[in-house]
């Protein structure tokens, strides 16, 4: 490969040139540069087969990717969601920043009194002010079983986009990639909010990714189903999510419900209930 591009700011236009996205003025600028830059010339030559494929088989590639649940709209939505999460995190970060500044300026008499007050409030309000959850060893982190063949809706009523997102989510779920699974499953429930199974697996993924709050919300939505077996499963994971959060009252409530109805999770619920009561 010839030496690096000497005029990087023009050299960078190569991607847009290849994708035919430059204005006529910039296109001319880049072409003038191309005549004098062996590096960019070789770059352009090397990428020619790939760019040809992208430009000539655009529809085919797009359709294949759409078949795997990937489209610009989906990706854009995921990026927006991430940015919202980041915004939330940065809000927390800036809050801690303020606290840190207050603590650094503690020698200034005007500041230290309110700083102490804020610290005291924090001790009472923030989770680490509480004692650690003693029930963590009883949590069940096993995955809810899933078989693609077993899950089929009535033909003609299936929301194809939602189904695609669900399948993509379950593929990640089976690979234990819960964060990715959550992204896909969120898209699935947005498209088909009436599907309790989507909510169920979203809730389980959120619980397994240690997000009990959002997991509880999703699992409660899954409880709206008339399918008793799914309701029992949803209650079991709801009990787990509440246990993770340390809300014993709700744990007991759901475990009693499971035992009352009977079925697959009844014996496990009974055993867990006994363990908790013995511990208390």
């Amino acid at each position: 490969m010839p030496q690096e591009c000497a005029r990087e700011e023009i050299g960078r236009l190569i991607t847009l040139y290849e994708l035919d996205q430059l204005s006529e003025k910039d296109r001319r600028r880049f072409e003038e540069h191309l005549l004098e830059c062996p590096h960019c010339l070789q770059e352009l030559q090397e990428m020619l087969p790939l760019i040809s494929t992208m430009r000539e088989s655009r529809v085919e590639i797009r359709q294949a990717l759409a078949g795997q649940g990937m489209s610009f709209a989906e990706e854009k939505e995921a990026l927006l969601e991430k940015s919202r999460d980041r915004a939330g995190e940065s809000l927390i970060a800036s809050f801690y920043g303020i606290i840190q500044r207050l603590l650094t300026d503690v020698r200034r008499p005007v500041v230290w009194a309110p700083a102490v007050a804020v610290a005291l409030i924090l001790i009472f309000l923030l989770p680490w002010g509480r004692s650690p959850n003693p029930y963590l060893p009883y949590l069940d982190y096993s995955k809810a079983p899933y078989s693609r063949v077993a899950f089929r809706g009535p033909a003609g009523q299936i929301n194809v986009e939602a189904q695609k997102a669900f399948n993509a989510g379950m593929a990640e779920y089976l690979r234990d990639n819960y964060d990715l699974a959550i992204q896909h499953l969120k898209r699935a429930v947005r498209r088909a909010p009436e599907e309790s199974q989507y909510w169920f697996y979203l809730g389980v993924s959120q619980y397994l990714a240690r997000h009990p709050g959002s997991g509880i919300e999703a699992l409660n939505r899954a409880l709206s189903t008339t399918d008793e077996s799914l309701r029992a499963k949803a209650r079991w994971y709801l009990a787990q999510a509440y246990l993770l959060r340390g809300d014993l009252k709700q744990v007991q409530l759901h475990l009693h419900e499971i035992i009352g109805v009977g079925g697959e999770y009844s014996a496990r619920a009974d055993s867990l209930l006994k363990q908790i009561e013995t511990f208390k």
Partner: protein, 201 residues
């Protein structure tokens, strides 16, 4: 050599003017590589023959005017090529479907419609089609394995959105994203895409 670093166009021009055949060949060779690539990107989908003809015509025109060129023969050649491309495009656009044609006889209109359309890739047979199929799979897999930003960018392009539109979309997720930063990022995306398909395409 076409990719030789620090290629001195003016020195070459001087030698050609002195009548050195070797220099003349070197100039033509270096220019034809570059002009061919520019023509290909400007006239995407045109047949190889058409592109070669345009480059050839541009070089002949340049050689005819070389005595009047004082410096930078490559820039002059590029300008000639652009003019030739403009003429070729105008020629193709000038062929219009006649208004008074017999609807039953569509041979004329079909020809007229077919002319400005891009030429489908030359059919090199069964193997070429398999190779093309493999390349599609390779590009699809590479795009799938890119980071979310890059994946979204290439998906947007494949869906026919312009870079400007995509930048606007991305600004919704990152309000402070400047156009120059966006361009830099997509340049990096291209690098990553290239790395993913390296040695395979």
């Amino acid at each position: 050599m076409p990719f030789e670093p620090n290629f001195d166009w003016n020195d070459l021009l001087l030698k050609v003017k002195e009548g050195q055949t070797e220099a003349r060949n070197a100039l033509c060779q270096a220019l034809s590589v570059r002009l061919r690539l520019i023509a290909q990107y400007r006239l995407w989908g045109w047949s190889r023959q058409d592109l070669d003809d345009l480059v050839q015509e541009s070089l002949i025109t340049l050689m005819g005017r070389l005595n009047r060129v004082d410096s930078n023969p490559h820039r002059v050649a590029c300008e000639i090529l652009r003019n030739k491309i403009g003429d070729a495009l105008r020629r193709r656009k000038m062929i219009k479907i006649p208004l008074q044609t017999d609807p039953a006889d569509d041979s004329h209109s079909r020809e007229a419609v077919a002319m400005p359309a891009i030429h489908p890739e030359e059919d090199d047979g069964f193997i070429a089609r398999i190779e093309a199929r493999d390349r599609v799979d390779l590009v699809r897999t590479a795009i799938r394995n890119l980071a979310p930003f890059c994946r979204a960018f290439f998906l947007g392009i494949l869906e026919g959105q312009s870079a400007r539109e995509l930048w606007r979309h991305f600004r919704r997720a990152e309000p402070g994203l400047q156009r120059s930063a966006f361009d830099k990022r997509i340049f990096d995306c291209r690098k990553r895409l290239k790395q993913l398909v390296k040695d395979q395409i």
